[in-house]
Amino acid sequence: MELVKQQRDTASDLKTQEYFVNMGPQHPSTHGVLRLVLGLDGEIITKVEPHIGYIHRSIEKMCEHDNYRQIVHLTDRMDYLSAHINNEAVCLAVENALEIEVPERARVIRTIFAELTRLASHQLWWGVMGMDLGALTAFLYGFRDREMINDIFEETCGARLTMNYNVPGGVMFDLHPNFHKRVKEFIAHFKTKLPEYDDLLSNNVIFRQRTEGVGILSKEDAISYGVTGPTARASGVSCDVRKLHPYSAYDRVDFKEILMEEGDSFARYKARVLEMWESLSIVEQLIDNIPEGDFQAPTKAVIKLPKGEYYQRVETARGELGVYIVSDGGKSPYRLKFRSPGFSNLFVLEKLAVGSKIADLVAIMSTIDIVVPDIDR
């Protein structure tokens, strides 16, 4: 008894000191090369400072030298999990500037592809989220279902990830004859498999204890940090570009914007899983109603945008992607800026993680779903 008391006294006399630990740049849970400098008091995080720029490839600068057709393929390499949606953003910006009427067929094809991309991205996120928290099984299940979508992409576009399927004016090729059949198969397959996701992870006690009430993001913080996508919607911020500023064929489909109240890691997780159901229903509504007709509007061989500034935003799997083009009338942009969702979503970490344990940081990082090439560009 005496000994315990003695020890306790010395412990309270000890001067403790905040210390710093590097997480990354090579760390399995940073999903790429990202360095976080963590200020720690024991195991409690007092400060998070993300250091970025390890895979900066100057995509924005490269765009200033490429013409408008060539820019599209560079955007594949930003958020590679939303490659199609990034392509679409650039193409929409160019089309709006030139006032090109995109054929109905191309619009619907783009929307179906965008939703399949979102599904594939969320499936990958779900698997990786499980793996980050120590459940390797989830990873394999997520990848199994994503494989079907990748096959659909590969058959029609010729590539699985960096598809470059959009061109200004429409899409590059017409749909493959098997497309319809394969998408139907996928919908039927995934409808039976998505409940498994809940059995394996969402309802698991360990998983819930590690995510519920962890890393709470308030509505005010979400707005002031510019957080978008499922991360913000889990805190109750209505920010779905597909709903608020419909583009392509989103004005004719019926879907819900998933809004949560809690704002904790589990709400962010839940928002994404529910979003998968919505994406599935969008694809289902459109797949039988693809209009006949051209898949590409005729465009000039050399595309020149009139002098001016153009902005287009779309909803990627991670949030709002904005493309801001300043044109001086030439065949390549004078300046091109991407407002990437990952950048704002990452920096809210300095608010989110403070006060939680270092092990919880992994769960928090997983649920904000960052893709580092998107942040660095």
Binding site: Q70, H73, M172, D199
Partner: protein
């Protein structure tokens, strides 16, 4: 008292969710024959069928007379975003008219820089190049990834107009 009840309730809940998860795993374990989707890649090389649109590498098809369709117009070179294609010219004397005429000498293709974006294929007015489905190109030095696509001694097909 309450704490003890909660403690045991927690354990039972944990066991229940464990069983739910194991049920999913168990299903796949017992239905492995039906549900398995893994492909044994290097072993199944002979039967592996890529999709016809798969973009593996840019190639130039030649017919049986060693003739291709490339006129050397350089449209692909201009369309390429990263300079993977270089068209080298030569001036050959036309045997009939005796005039010097520009024709293609070498179609140099740097696979190491190519992003397989398909823009060159779309740009080609005579459909001289296409994407091939092969993809195993691991080498020790990137110099080995520079190819000359038109075969030695090959000619432009007579029916191809510039």
């Amino acid at each position: 008292m309450n704490a003890i009840v909660r403690y045991f309730a927690g354990i039972f809940k944990g066991l229940k969710t464990l069983a739910t998860g194991m049920k999913v795993t168990g299903y796949y374990f017992s239905h492995a024959r039906k549900e398995i989707i893994t492909q044994q890649y290097p072993e199944n090389r002979d039967t592996l069928q890529m999709f016809e649109r798969f973009r593996g590498i840019v190639t130039m098809p030649h017919d049986e007379n060693n003739e291709h369709r490339c006129t050397g117009c350089s449209a692909c070179e201009v369309a390429c975003p990263n300079g993977s294609i270089e068209i080298l010219w030569q001036r050959l004397e036309d045997p009939e008219t005796g005039k010097k005429k520009k024709t293609i000498d070498k179609f140099v293709y740097h696979y190491s820089m190519c992003t397989l974006c398909n823009l060159c294929i779309l740009a080609c007015p005579t459909d001289a190049i296409k994407m091939d489905q092969t993809f195993e190109y691991a080498v020790y030095d990137r110099k080995e990834l520079t190819f000359i696509l038109n075969k030695p001694g090959s000619k432009v097909r007579a029916d191809v107009k510039e």
